[in-house]
Amino acid sequence: MVLDTGKGTGRTLDDLVKSAHRVGSAVETVIEGKAQAVRVALTVLLAEGHLLIEDVPGVGKTMLAKTLARSTDCTVRRIQFTPDLLPSDITGVSAYNQERREFEFKPGPIFANIVVGDEINRASPKTQSALLECMEERQVTVDGQTYPLAPPFMVIATQNPIEMEGTYPLPEAQRDRFTARISMGYPSGEAELAMMDSHGSFSPLEALEPVASAADMQELIAAVRKVHVAAPLKEYVISLVTATRTSPELRLGASPRATLHLLRASRAWAALDGRDFVIPDDVQSLAMPVLAHRLLPSTEALGARRLPEQVLPAIVERVPLPTLR
């Protein structure tokens, strides 16, 4: 497949996809039995989005983020969110340099290719919104000075849905900024057995070598942007999103931003398949991770114990494929 990546390197999409798959395989050596989660994470990275991982402690949320960062030879910073964390602890501060007699900007942990925000719901809303602003704008403004964030830039935030005491759950507007949300889930018995063997004597994360450079990832992201999306497929995405807005079981449907995220992620998903065009399967595969966290169930649906996770598959099942002529 010869898809111009726009970087003038002459590399085909196939080559780039191979390196992406190498990244995926590398991550899977550390995070065992979670191929789907790894693929979504990689998709979000290539779609220039941000990932929200919601799960109980100890299932490998942070490990996934770290592994992804290390295998792509990207800079990675981890922020542990606590209630007393300040926005400047994330963005950085301007400190007065006595020698130079001027203010000097000390970049915060946000200045990395991959930022891992652990337990994001423990920070105050003010801090959360500082992070989310950086996510959206891909730049930091401190004391009137704007500092762009180097691409690729991806925030992987984790959230623990069990211990909700003393937390600030992300409001809908902020959840909407995450391209996808995944749950790691417990590993299977076999995967856990393999994990005991591999993690028992040494840390596989330490042994992990980068398999793709940040430049490779950049090139791949550029290639993903050029993946072809046919008009019927755009219509299909619109129908799917509209169906979430009109469903009586949902109080809040997907936003136009969700439409863009879904299309962008579908492009990346197709590219990971080695395809230079998006098909409805890509959209259907990504509907759950990309849309579910943005939807709010109606009171009736709540009464019937139907969460968006149950409503969404029914909507996907109901919306017909576009008619091709």
């Binding site: 072809h228 046919a230 098909i279 409805p280 399967d281 009464g303 109901r318 494929l321 091709l324």
Partner: protein, 807 residues
């Protein structure tokens, strides 16, 4: 307080009260009944303000109704116009006694005099009170149907005429009332059932009530369908149908007549227009072409119409020989025809109605059970109360065949038949026409034949049932001079009137033609053989039948079994109708071989052609007008319907493939073909199923071989590229791939599904089914009503936001 049910209950009672219309003449009683219903509703509502025992509610209702009826019918004798006094009660008593006497004396419909109105209004009042009590107070609307049924059954249990469109309309009204009552109750109940159990309390007052419109619409559809079935099924089932024959359906002549007279012309029209012919009688005859069967003789020509001939002296049958044949010279030669007649077993007759026996004219002996009397004027046999269904009787009659000499010697009418020459002045204008037609005819008989020929002349008149059965002079003049379109009634009237204008005594006979032969000398007469014809009187020859109505022939509509009498045939000779019994011919004309095959032979052949060879039950398929062969056409259409889907499938497949040009279109054609094949084999696919997902499923379900799997992948890949990629994939192999997969489907499917794929492919039937369902939706009045209602409600809600959304 359930106002909805109260109103529905009052409506149901009012609708059921329409059922009394056939019983009573005059409309005053209905308004009194409506008032009684309103009083019942009002008092019922008042008694439900406080919860008092149901018995007290009933008593209160009855007392209020008594006051109301007293005020209405004896207000002037009451104190303050409505409090009953001794005088008013006595007046009411007198009225009731009078009504009771009238009811015992007269058959329905009775005149709605004051007493009768009081009794009927009282009946409606009691029904209204009981219905209101059961439906609203006791909350059992379904049971409230019982008092309504009592009201509805009144005309059924009396001998009131309950046929026709009116009864269907009344039935529909009553049903609509009852269904409204049920619907009003259903709506209240659904509100209770349909409540969604809510986990969270939220602004409950503002919450809309559960949407029960769909259930309501379904209920209305069911009710509507039930009513339609109740109205239509009796029309289609022959067993549930009354046969309006021989005077049993006479409407009577008001409440003053103890005995109802039949309405021959009404019956004639009803039978001629019957949806499907019913067998009236079958008979065996010794004649080759038996005579017509007369039932009614209409001898009186009034300003409005023809009515039954004035009765002469009647003699009981069996008490001696039958009266002599009027006008027939003694010693006239005639052949005797013997007939054994069996009336149909489904005939009904009302107890207080004159019934006439179908007889050939002139009959000489009649052997029949029951109390029969014979009129010496018309030789008709009448009875009251004898059961007609299945009646068997034997008749011998004379086959009149007057000689030309007799007919030439006809003298002027005698005083005995002077009544048959009277006509109203309205017809006088036709005298010129009558003379014009009979120019050159010297004798009265020649004139009569000239009249018949004028009516039967091809192209002169058109036979059609699609004309008004009006019997007024104007209508007849219009028929004779302008429209020239009609059926036997107009032809018979026309000829009889013209004959009277020419001073020939005439009358109209209503009865049946000889019917159609069913083999071995047996004949069958059906309702479509009902007929009217003129009889003209010639001194010495008696009453002779003429046939002005055209007979049906290919391309020319007419009465199917009408045959002109032999003595009116042109002078080509004639043959006796009695076949081998004919020992002579009184005609002076030579009777050659050609004459033997004369008009009657031709007529007989035609009748044989019309008849059905077997004599089993069921109506003979013969009509007055030539009709297309419905049966074979229906069979062909049915056959086509069965064969078409299977035949259409390969064609649609081929056409789709041929129309596809380019890789992308061929890929789509292959994919659609695959989907259709799946539908045909009852495997199916969901509209949201992607090609890839479908392929994954098929690979497992159909146990595809690797080669077939590759074929499937090629189709899927081609479809994906054609639909979503910038360029399409190569389509060279797709046609064969689809065929290969079709065989794989056939291999994997059970035999029934395989057969369905060949003979009834769903891909062909589904669009047809969708079309039908769309058509049904388009005609779904209830759905539209619901939609309209919803829109109106939404509009009202928008305009007045303060209103509660609960309705």
């Amino acid at each position: 307080m359930n106002f909805r049910l109260t109103i529905a209950s009052a409506l149901a009672t009012t609708a059921a009260s329409f059922a009394l219309i056939p019983v009573v003449q005059g409309g005053g009683w209905w308004w009194a009944g409506l008032g009684a219903t309103l009083v019942a509703a009002l008092v019922g509502t008042l008694t439900r303000v406080r919860k008092i025992p149901a018995v007290l509610c009933l008593l209160a209702g009855l007392v209020a109704e008594c006051l109301y009826l007293n005020a209405l019918f004896a207000g002037s004798q009451s104190w303050r116009g409505f409090i009953p006094t001794g005088r008013s009660l006595r007046a009411v008593g007198v009225l009731i006694r009078g009504a009771t006497t009238e009811m015992a004396k007269y058959a329905p419909p009775v005149q709605a005099r004051l007493g009768m109105s009081l009794v009927i209004a009282a009946g409606i009042a009691v029904t209204a009170v009981v219905t209101d009590l059961i439906a609203v107070r006791l909350q059992r609307p379904a049971l409230a149907g019982l008092p309504l049924l009592v009201l509805f059954c009144v005309p059924l249990t009396t001998s009131a005429d309950t046929h026709g469109f009116g009864s269907a309309f009344v039935f529909c009204l009553a049903m609509a009332g009852y269904l409204t009552l049920l619907a009003a109750d259903g709506k209240s109940r659904l509100r209770v059932w349909g409540q969604i159990v809510r986990r969270y309390d939220y602004d409950d007052d503002e919450a809309p009530p559960p949407d029960t419109r769909l259930i309501g619409a379904a209920g209305r559809r069911l009710g509507f369908t039930a009513v339609i079935l109740a109205v239509c099924v009796p029309l289609l089932l022959p067993g549930l149908r009354h046969h309006p024959l021989f005077g049993n359906s006479g409407t009577g002549h008001g409440g003053s007549a103890p005995l109802s007279l039949p309405e021959p012309l009404v019956q004639l029209n009803r039978q001629l227009r019957a949806h499907s012919p019913q067998t009236v009688l079958t008979y065996h005859s010794t004649a080759q072409l038996p005579p017509y069967l007369q039932v009614y003789v209409l001898g009186r020509l009034g300003t409005a119409t023809w009515s039954l001939a004035p009765p002469g002296r009647t003699v009981p049958l069996g008490s001696g020989p039958l009266p002599p044949v009027p006008g027939l010279r003694t010693g006239s030669k005639a052949v005797t025809v013997l007939e054994t007649i069996s009336l149909g077993s489904t005939l009904t007759s009302a107890p207080q109605t004159l019934a006439y026996l179908p007889l050939p004219y002139p009959s000489r002996t009649i052997q029949v059970n029951g109390d029969w009397r014979v009129d010496d004027n018309t030789l008709t046999a009448v009875t009251v109360g004898t059961r007609l269904a299945g009646l068997q009787y034997s008749v011998s009659s004379l086959a009149l065949d007057p000689s030309q000499a007799t007919l030439n010697q006809v003298t002027g009418p005698t005083a005995a038949v002077a009544g048959y020459l009277e006509y109203p002045q309205a017809f006088a204008s036709l005298r010129r026409l009558a003379r014009h037609i009979t120019v050159g005819a010297p004798t009265p008989y020649d004139k009569a034949v000239a009249l018949q020929n004028w009516f039967r002349k091809p192209g002169n008149f058109t036979y059609t049932l699609k004309v008004s059965p009006s019997q007024t002079p104007d209508a007849l003049i219009n028929f004779l001079t302008k429209s020239k379109k009609g059926y036997c009634q107009q032809f018979a009237f026309g000829m009889a009137v013209l004959a009277r204008l020419l001073n020939i005594p005439s009358r109209v006979v209503v009865g049946y033609t000889q019917g159609s032969p069913i083999g071995h000398g047996n004949w069958r007469v059906t309702t479509s053989d009902a007929h009217a014809w003129p009889e003209l009187y010639f001194q010495g020859a008696g009453w002779l039948r003429f046939e002005p109505t055209p007979s049906a022939s290919p391309g020319h509509p007419g009465q199917a079994t009408a045959v002109p009498p032999i003595y009116t045939a042109p002078k080509s000779g004639n043959v006796s109708r009695n076949g081998r019994h004919a020992s002579h011919s009184p005609s002076p004309e030579p009777t050659g071989q050609a004459g033997r095959r004369g008009p009657n032979k031709g007529n007989l052949d035609k009748l044989r052609h019309l008849s059905v060879p077997q004599s089993g039950g069921g109506a003979v398929r013969q009509h007055h007008q030539s009709r297309p062969p419905v049966g074979p056409i229906a069979l062909v259409v049915l056959g086509l319907l069965v064969v078409t889907p299977g035949a259409a499938r390969p064609i649609t497949r081929r056409v789709r493939w041929l129309r596809a040009s380019g890789d992308a279109e061929r890929a789509h054609a292959a994919w659609l073909g695959l989907r259709d094949d799946l539908a045909d084999h009852r495997i199916g696919s969901r509209p949201s199923e992607t090609p890839r997902a479908l392929a994954g499923r098929l690979r497992v379900d159909l146990h595809l071989t690797p080669i077939e799997g590759d074929a499937l992948d090629r189709i899927v890949h081609a479809e994906e590229r054609a639909g979503y990629a910038p360029s399409a994939a190569d389509s060279a192999l797709l046609h064969d791939d689809v065929r290969m997969l079709r065989s794989a489907m056939a291999r994997a499917c059970p035999i029934l599904d395989r057969a369905a794929a060949v003979f009834a492919p769903a891909s062909v039937l589904l669009p047809a089914r969708r079309g039908m369902s769309a058509a049904f939706d388009a005609f779904d009045a209830f759905g539209r009503i619901d939609l309209l209602g919803a829109r109106l409600r939404a509009k009202v809600r928008r305009r007045s936001p303060g209103l509660s959304t609960r309705t």
